[in-house]
């Protein structure tokens, strides 16, 4: 069953092809159901992957390898480990929900769903690719459907936001591509010529002169920092979130941002351990700056989607801080927090989207008192808010706590400053909730309908997971912790073969 990961990656693409080739014959309703069916099927495949994954092993599992373009050493290599497992599951989980949340999209449904499905393939491919060029292809492929989703089905200033999103990420990717190519060129000494295979490049990178490694580290860092986004490269995010359709925001915050932090864990740390240590302080300072700066900016937003966008900047700062503290707890917490933030912020955007569909406004000042009219919807909002605030018992707390604890053990002040972000999160999120839910209600909002069945189906799984992962984070950490442990060990300079393939056979099948 070593084709499982390939199936998972390309199943959505097949759905997209069906929709595309079906042409106009595919009615809107059919397009919705085909997209939903495909994403649900992909989720089931992801569950099968989870079933076959052995959390006790630290290396890559279910690896598939085939040579694609031998002349340049491009291989199709996919594999999964503790870091990517939950990100893939999160992605596969959020897509059906995003599709279901997009049921109200009325224009060009077929093309919209095609974009969604292509996006899913690109994101899952990014998390699974173990070949740098393959990763880069998927990484770039994310841009196009997302650009279309924002630019095609977004708000009033959607085109501008879409272009900004595209240009920002492309600018970062340029650095990343140069970094990858330099690394590739350095690998020409290998027996079978230059390669993009991550596991072979790990050895190559280890023998680089320190100065080169540092430049490469910076190139990779810029590429991923835009995506995270790390302050001061974050200004595309509020615009993109504000203009994107609900599902676009959910996916952007839920999984796309994680590709950036995932890249840091997967590539920056193992490939350039010495440079990672050298730049750790700098990156940590940027991360803390992000935590506090994002929170302060969030506090002052009057547009609820912008507010959540800035809160993402703040929360992703926690993730990066955890990654660059290089302790078991902090790195595990960081990866855990990627998943948790995806769920919590995803839930926030879902609720905000539903509010927008009813009130037709995102301005906090134009809402108020809605808790009286729509107790269930606002109740769901409250759960999402408190998950984001980091209330113990809900999911984000464990991740944040592990990050703070792990960071505190190496940098007292970093840990303390990060904790300040927790206060600010309470301020801006509760303040925004208060302005939406409490106070006197406007007359035109009095008769708004509460959750309907579809919306309840959309929200219930996400909210349940917020609670489940808060009470039983061990489900996630049992897989994450061993992988995090080996990354930390490698950064610390121990000779850990992070590319070790665990429990899977390789199949070399040259075309």
């Amino acid at each position: 069953m070593s084709w499982l990961l390939t199936l998972l990656t390309f199943l959505p693409l097949v759905g997209a092809a069906v929709l595309l080739l079906g042409g106009r014959a595919v009615r809107d309703e059919a397009a919705r159901w085909i997209a939903l069916g495909t994403t649900v099927a992909a989720f089931l495949v992801a569950l099968a992957v989870y079933g076959r994954f052995d959390p006790a092993l630290a290396g890559f599992q279910l690896v598939e390898r085939a040579t694609w373009v031998p002349a340049i050493g491009l291989h199709y290599v996919v594999g999964i480990d503790g870091v990517s497992l939950w990100l893939v599951l999160l992605t596969a989980f959020l897509f059906p929900i995003a599709v279901l949340a997009s049921w109200t999209i009325g224009r060009d449904v077929r093309l919209y769903m095609v974009a969604m499905l292509v996006l899913e393939t690109a994101v899952i491919g990014s998390f699974l690719a173990l070949d740098l060029l393959l990763f880069f292809l998927f990484f770039e492929a994310i841009l196009v459907p997302m650009y279309l989703l924002i630019g095609g089905w977004g708000g009033e200033r959607r085109v501008r936001a879409a272009v900004k999103f595209f240009l920002f990420t492309m600018a970062g990717s340029a650095f990343l591509l140069v970094g990858i190519l330099v690394l590739w060129a350095r690998s020409s000494g290998l027996a079978d010529g230059p390669t993009f295979d991550l596991r072979q490049l790990l050895a190559v990178a280890a023998s680089l002169p320190p100065a080169t490694a540092r430049w490469l580290f910076l190139a990779f860092l810029v590429g991923f920092a835009v995506k995270v986004p790390l302050v001061p490269l974050h200004t595309w995010l509020p615009d993109a979130h504000t203009e994107a359709p609900t599902a676009g925001s959910v996916l952007l915050a839920g999984v796309l941002l994680k590709v950036g932090t995932y890249g840091l864990v997967r590539f920056n740390l193992p490939l350039f351990p010495e440079a990672s240590r050298a730049f750790a302080t700098l990156v940590s300072i940027l991360a803390i700056l992000g935590i506090l700066y994002g929170a302060v900016c969030a506090m002052m937003q009057s547009d609820v989607k912008r507010l959540v966008a800035y809160s993402s900047v703040s929360h992703l700062g926690f993730v990066v801080l955890g990654i660059f503290a290089f302790t078991d707890q902090s790195l595990t917490g960081g990866v855990l927090q990627m998943v948790n933030h995806g769920l919590a912020t995803g839930a926030l955007f879902l609720v905000v989207g539903m509010l927008y569909e009813r009130t037709h406004t995102r301005e906090l000042g134009a809402m108020g008192g809605l808790a009286g009219a729509m107790p269930w919807l606002l109740g769901a909002y409250l759960v999402a808010v408190f998950a984001s605030v980091g209330l113990p018992g809900l999911n984000s707390f464990v991740g944040e706590f592990l990050v703070i604890v792990g960071t505190f053990a190496v940098h007292r002040w970093f840990g303390t400053l990060a904790a300040l972000g927790v206060i600010l999160a309470a301020i801006y999120l509760l303040w925004s909730y208060q302005r939406v839910a409490f106070g006197p209600i406007r007359d035109e909002h009095r008769r708004l309908a509460d959750l309907d069945l579809r919306e309840a189906v959309v929200l219930a799984p996400v909210l349940s997971l917020l609670l489940v992962f808060g009470v039983a984070p061990g489900v996630l950490t049992e897989a994450i912790a061993p992988a995090a442990r080996s990354v930390v060990a490698r950064v610390a300079g121990e000779s850990v073969d992070i590319g070790a393939v665990a429990g899977a056979t390789e199949e070399a099948s040259p075309p």
Binding site: P232, T332, F401, V422, Q434
Partner: protein, 637 residues
């Protein structure tokens, strides 16, 4: 000095039920949250029954625990591993010892009465079911807080009660003021909580675990004085926030925006005492530091006097009680600061009874007067609301410290310790505080129940229904009898707590009987003085207040601490945030991005002039280019 290490008891069928104590209210909360509306009035009874069952269960479990020899009164129930990352583990462990036993009995006992009371008080509220869901959730979280076997589980309960506090203060959220009060409470306590969170990180760093046994057992040996001070002060930060001590006390008076049963349960009897519990629980860490306990003492002392004086000038009946609560909590901190942990716990238990009683009495008054909370509009309620008045007056006497009611023994013990451990200043200020508390609570009683009615509402006030009156009676009995905890030799709370928190300090000083007599006198004199001023009709107290201006106004505004925070903390923070978000981010960072984009566009704008659109001019350029190339190639060869 803390008692010797306890050995953990083996599971018995009864002890094994411990997990049900927090689980019952939590389950009821879930039921009420989803089906509360359909249950109608039954929601309230379900909630009361759940907490009542938890109380019975607690009593059974605690009785089982106390059947064991003193050094074996510890039971730890491991439910599951909550967090496991490498060597770092946090279990979902419940820990029952004398300290947590005391707390769960208070929480479930007083909680049950308040639930029953609330069934009557909240009658007819459109969100009746949800109210009880939150109230049950609170009880569950509070039980988790006190039963948690490690700091992280304690923190879970800690934040959980904060959440419920937020939800319940803002329960009537249509009023903007209530919503603001809720947010203020959550954010203010969160400041303290965050200090506590950093403290937990510190503990993990030093001990590698958060379990009470290893941390507290090795605190003295493991920690340097500096580290102990740091951890103790960080934990104290959390305690100060939760227990509304100076300087994080500002949220509690505003928290009175919540329904009165909430004020009684959360903001008087249980949640706000969590800070005291934390300090007592963490005593070994505090003792490992040379300065932590003196700081606790000073915080308590300052808070006690500050809040007591502020209570003197409040006009809202609930705000008097709120400041009174802050003041009493300060008393508990004082006691803890003198290592008299058992005395602090004793006052905590006694306070839970009489303060819950006072709040419920006040709630009954408010209910009877259709929402009127201003003391100046009351008066003469003794005749119209006899049960409420009588029970509340018991609470008043208990709070003032009239012997032999609850607070008399508790305060007496604390003042005696202050005197006998060579702290004459603490003793003097503590006695002053006792006088102040007799004054403000006497003023409340005189204004509300004695004299003549000062408004239509007061004339038409009616007695509350039995669901409200019965808990009042039960609490009055408790408030009157809680002193017994200090009288029966073998059953003394201090004695029971000794294995966990150590013995109460002893020493020499003014003889105990003299101190007790003085304490009793202070209470009686204080109450008598307020009767003369406010109820006898011989003094025009409004004239008196007017002549004392601006002192009453200053006290009424809580010494302007709130105003100062607004001016010097909130306003600058908001201004800075506005600058960062509106100028630095929008024009600075994003401006830079747009400037770069603009620069590219500008260059392109110049560059595109070459593109005239005339095919023939392109051809001309092409031609010249070709010729130039030819010339270049020719010149080279």
């Amino acid at each position: 000095m803390v008692g010797a290490e306890l050995t953990s008891a083996a599971v018995t069928p009864t002890l094994g039920l411990l997990w049900l104590v927090p689980a019952l209210p939590l389950a009821a909360a879930a039921v009420n949250l989803f089906w509360g509306r359909r249950l109608k009035r039954a929601a309230g009874w379900l909630a009361s029954a759940a907490v009542g069952a938890a109380f019975v269960l607690s009593a059974l479990v605690v009785a089982e625990l106390f059947r064991l020899p003193a050094q074996e009164r510890l039971f730890v129930q491991h439910l599951f591993d909550w967090i496991r990352v490498g060597a770092f583990r946090v279990g979902a462990d419940l820990r029952l010892d004398a300290l947590s036993a005391t707390m769960i009995l208070v929480v479930t006992g007083v909680g049950t009465l308040i639930h029953v009371y609330a069934v009557g008080y909240m009658e007819g509220d459109p969100r009746f079911g949800r109210f009880f869901a939150y109230l049950n959730l609170f009880v569950g979280a509070m039980l988790l807080l006190v039963l948690g076997g490690n700091y992280l589980l304690l923190y879970v309960g800690w934040e959980g009660v904060g959440l419920c506090s937020y939800l319940l203060i803002g329960f009537w959220f249509e009023e903007v003021a209530n919503a603001n009060a809720a947010k203020k409470a959550f954010v203010t306590t969160r400041i303290g909580d965050t200090a506590m969170l950093v403290g937990l990180a510190f503990i993990v760093w030093r001990f590698g675990t958060l379990d009470f046994d290893p941390v507290l057992g090795r605190a003295g040996a493991t920690l340097t004085e500096g580290a102990a001070t740091a951890i103790a002060l960080l934990l104290l930060g959390g305690a100060i926030g939760k227990s509304a001590q100076v300087p994080l006390h500002v949220w509690l008076p505003d928290a009175m925006a919540g329904p009165t049963p909430v004020s009684a349960l959360i903001h008087a009897a249980t949640m706000v005492t969590a800070g005291v519990y934390l300090v007592v629980r963490s005593a070994p860490i505090f003792e490992a530091s040379p300065v932590a306990l003196p700081i606790v003492l000073v915080v308590g002392l300052v808070t006690m006097l500050y809040a007591g004086t502020s209570a003197l000038a409040q006009t809202d009946i609930k705000r008097v009680l709120a400041y009174s609560t802050i003041s009493q909590l300060g008393y508990m901190f004082m006691a803890a600061g003198m290592r008299a942990y058992a005395a602090a716990m004793f006052l905590l238990v006694a306070h839970a009874f009489y303060k819950a009683l006072l709040f419920l009495g006040a709630g009954s008054v408010i209910h009877g007067m259709h929402g009127e909370q201003d003391l100046r509009a009351m008066g003469g309620l003794l005749r119209r609301m006899p049960v409420t008045s009588a029970t509340t007056l018991v609470g008043v006497a208990a709070l003032a410290g009239v012997p032999p009611l609850a607070a008399f023994f508790a305060k007496d013990q604390i003042l005696e310790i202050a005197n006998h451990t060579g702290r004459p200043l603490v003793w003097a200020l503590g006695s002053l505080g006792a006088l102040v508390s007799a004054l403000y609570v006497g003023r409340l009683a005189a204004l509300a129940f004695l004299g003549r009615a000062r408004s239509r509402a007061a004339e038409r006030a009616h007695e509350s229904p039995p669901t409200m009156a019965l808990p009042l009676v039960a609490l009055a009995v408790g408030a009157a009898a809680a002193g017994a905890l200090n009288v029966v030799p073998e059953g003394r709370l201090a004695h029971l707590l000794e294995p966990v928190v150590g013995a109460v300090p002893h020493g020499e000083g003014i003889p105990a009987w003299a101190l007790s007599t003085l304490g009793g006198l202070i209470a009686v004199v204080g109450l008598a003085a307020t009767w003369v001023v406010y109820a006898s009709g011989r003094v025009d107290h409004e004239m008196l207040a007017a002549r004392l201006e601006p002192i009453p106004r200053m006290l009424g505004a809580g010494w302007y601490v709130d105003a100062a925070y607004e001016r010097f903390v909130q306003a600058p923070t908001l201004a800075a945030a506005r600058f960062i978000a509106g100028v630095l981010d929008a024009r600075g960072v994003d401006g830079l991005v747009h400037a770069i984009a603009g620069g590219v566009v500008g260059i392109a704008r110049i560059g595109r002039r070459i593109q005239t659109g005339f095919v023939r001019s392109y051809a001309l350029v092409f031609l010249f280019g070709a010729i130039a190339l030819l010339v270049l190639v020719g010149a080279r060869s």
